[in-house]
Symmetry: C2
Subunit: 127 residues, 2 copies
């Protein structure tokens, strides 16, 4: 895999993700594409999602039913606030984590290297 081709199917998948701004599974994306008569195979949807996640342009999350879902997001380190009503995902920066890191070190003798976080609630628009 020397270079990476920019192809129609890949752009179609990316476009859906950019448009929706919420966590979508491969199957859902495939369904949305079919609705608008853009025939991209399910395999290609999967491959494209892996690619995007690998480049850090999308982030993955396994939902309650065990399906892996993806959202577009920027590449800096951050976290997601997921609205329980509309599903929309907002990026959240994470300075606050610093205080958690020092508490971990103090109380648990634990040296923090990495962390995962996810927030659920109601977004401004849905209130």
């Amino acid at each position: 895999m020397r270079t990476q081709y920019s192809t129609r199917p890949r752009e179609q998948v990316s476009a859906i993700l950019k448009r929706e701004q919420r966590y979508l599974s491969a199957a859902e994306i495939h369904g949305l594409l079919r609705k608008s008569r853009q025939n991209v195979s399910l395999s290609t949807v999967y491959r494209t999602l892996d690619l995007l996640a690998g480049k850090g342009e999308a982030s993955a999350r396994v939902d309650a039913g065990g399906e892996t879902t993806y959202v577009v997001c920027d590449q800096t380190h951050h976290h997601h606030a997921v609205c329980r009503k509309c599903g929309k995902v907002q990026d959240v920066s994470c300075e606050a984590i610093e205080s958690v890191a020092s508490a971990l070190r103090t109380h648990h003798g634990f040296k923090l290297a990495d962390h995962e976080m996810q927030f659920f609630g109601t977004c401004g628009a849905c209130k």
Copy 2:
């Protein structure tokens, strides 16, 4: 399902979890049980893990390979600090989250209802 029977296989699965103190998949637990000549079927391991997770006595996490893994933990709300060396999991209380919640409200107009967190690093014993 009126009452719940206390059975050998269930206790054997719980015992492994209590002993290991780290995230284990159903298959791993099944393997560990076989090694010590305790034959519990894989189905029963799965069923027992669901039960424990349902009662809040264990908590589940999908690992990088897509397998669901479980640890024992107490029932109060808390988070996990996972050691990257030995895999051991420590419970971490979460007062620090309060400050994150207010920041979310202020900066993003987001009303926090729930959250997930997971920490990775090196535990005191492994340093």
